[in-house]
């Protein structure tokens, strides 16, 4: 099977295991491409892509833009801060105006959960979700799993991954849970009770409130950022207290009897969820994640774009 089973990349939930593996094999080839002297292929030279960012982003946006340019697509960028959204235009109107300029694929980040799905049902272009509120962030989960696969091998069966931190507000956590489970890994979430959704065990994940126990259990620890911008009330007494209970430092890491892999989707709050010496240690694959992000996004865009028919 060489085709994705979906028309849009809205979330990991809608993908099959075969889809994810297809994206990974394709990403392998793109990773070769981006490590060559000339990091560009002409595949998408007749495709136009709009990056619509209704929410701030540096890494994801740069990563998408690089991926698009390395596939030779034409790219237009849009950010809400400097647009007519501020003047009261609706999402559909904004997007339809952009599509009237003949855009084939839309990459969108939006603060509202479900925004990408809403859009995909109403417009005549492919949609890639680059994060919709607290819902999903599929390409991040794909690049996380891809980075784990690079370190631990293709078979995820029995691999143990713990996601630490603000699970409640994290789209990265939800997408990661779906992705890792589909690939056969076991997933645990760890954080303060207030930041773990009450019914998360229904997704089949383990819940742990003691970071040490969680780390002793896992092969990979994915440390999430505390998303202060999404927290309307105080979920824990102070950042200092959070760091003491759920921050990963070198002392804790070295006291484990095995070498686990440390990940972080960025941006890092050094000294909060992860200490500087851990982030820069040889167990951290944070920068690999960033590199793989471009390859995985190239693969996702390439596979979706190959479905666009220009008859």
């Amino acid at each position: 099977m060489n085709n994705l089973s979906v028309d849009h990349l809205i979330g990991i939930k809608g993908l099959s295991k075969e889809d994810i593996e297809l994206i990974f094999t394709t990403a392998d080839r793109f990773k070769q491409v981006i490590n060559r002297p000339i990091k560009k292929v002409p595949s998408l030279r007749d495709i136009t892509i709009a990056n619509l960012f209704f929410e701030n982003s540096t890494r994801t946006r740069l990563s998408f833009e690089l991926a698009e340019k390395r596939l030779s697509a034409d790219v237009v960028n849009f950010s809400a801060a400097s647009s007519s959204v501020k003047k009261g235009e609706t999402l559909i109107d904004t997007v339809n105006n952009i599509l009237a300029m003949k855009v084939d694929l839309v990459v969108m980040r939006h603060p509202n959960p479900g925004a990408a799905k809403f859009l995909s049902e109403r417009i005549d272009a492919k949609v890639i979700n680059a994060g919709d509120g607290t819902h999903e962030h599929p390409t991040q989960a794909l690049l996380d799993a891809y980075s784990i696969r690079e370190k631990l091998g293709e078979d995820f069966t029995g691999k143990k991954v713990v996601i630490v931190g603000d699970i409640k507000h994290s789209r990265v956590a939800l997408s990661n849970i779906f992705c890792l489970q589909k690939l056969g890994a076991e997933v645990m979430v760890c954080g303060p009770t207030t930041l773990i959704p009450k019914h998360i065990y229904e997704l089949g994940v383990k819940v742990e409130h003691d970071l040490r126990k969680a780390l002793e259990w896992c092969d990979v620890a994915n440390m999430l950022r505390i998303q202060l911008e999404r927290q309307d009330i105080q979920f824990f007494p102070s950042l200092r207290e959070y760091t003491m209970q759920f921050g990963l430092d070198k002392k804790l890491l070295d006291s484990l009897d095995k070498k686990i892999i440390v990940m972080h989707p960025g941006p890092i709050n050094r000294g909060v969820e992860i200490s500087s010496d851990v982030a820069d240690s040889d167990q951290s694959i944070i920068l690999d994640q960033v590199e793989n992000g471009v390859a995985v996004r190239m693969a996702s865009i390439y596979l979706l774009a190959s479905q666009i028919n220009r008859e």
């Binding site: 060489n2 094999t25 491409v33 002297p37 002409p42 998408l44 190959s306």
Partner: protein, 180 residues
């Protein structure tokens, strides 16, 4: 489907040896020459030629594998996207003489894409083309081989398949014709 062998294993070997000799004639010690096989089936021709040449010259020859999927001109014009194979060229081809190697030369579109793909590895001094089988009347582009194993005259509805001992159990070239 009518199936006819147009090159048996004996002639297959003779042909490979002849191609190797022709390459040697033009490139002598292969000092500044690299051989590049096109994925997926061209690399088998490459592997055999490499073995013959290295046995003969008693030193290694630079060889690489090139996948042209991302450079094809029929992206989005096919039912299914093609899953790319591995590209394995761990040297630059800047100022090198390159011999592109494929099993069957048909429309010439693969070679065009291959020439495009090569540019990502530098500017070669010269590029030559070796085709094990040349279906000469089926060309869509002005591309001709410098070395040819066997020329076959075919209809576009026919199919030519190069089969390998390692993969299919026997070295041979088969011509398939659709029965009416």
């Amino acid at each position: 489907m009518d199936k006819r062998t147009i090159l048996n294993s004996k002639h297959f070997e003779i042909t490979l040896n002849r191609l190797a000799s022709q390459l040697k004639e033009n490139h002598q010690s292969f000092e500044n020459t690299v051989l590049i096989g096109l994925q997926p089936r061209g690399i088998h021709v490459l592997t055999r030629l490499q073995r013959i040449l290295e046995n003969d010259l008693k030193h290694e020859i630079k060889c690489g594998q090139l996948d042209i999927t991302f450079y094809r001109d029929d992206f989005r014009r096919r039912e299914q996207p093609i899953i790319p194979s591995v590209t394995n060229i761990d040297f630059t081809i800047e100022n090198k003489n390159v011999v592109l190697i494929d099993d069957v030369l048909f429309s010439g579109r693969t070679i065009r894409a291959g020439l495009d793909a090569l540019l990502a590895f530098g500017r070669p001094n010269r590029v030559e083309l070796l085709a094990f089988i040349d279906r000469r009347f089926e060309r869509h582009l002005p591309i001709q081989p410098d070395y040819t194993g066997k020329i076959v005259d075919t209809l576009s509805s026919q199919r030519v398949s190069v089969e390998w001992k390692e993969l299919e159990g026997e070295d041979k070239v088969v011509l398939f014709t659709e029965e009416k």
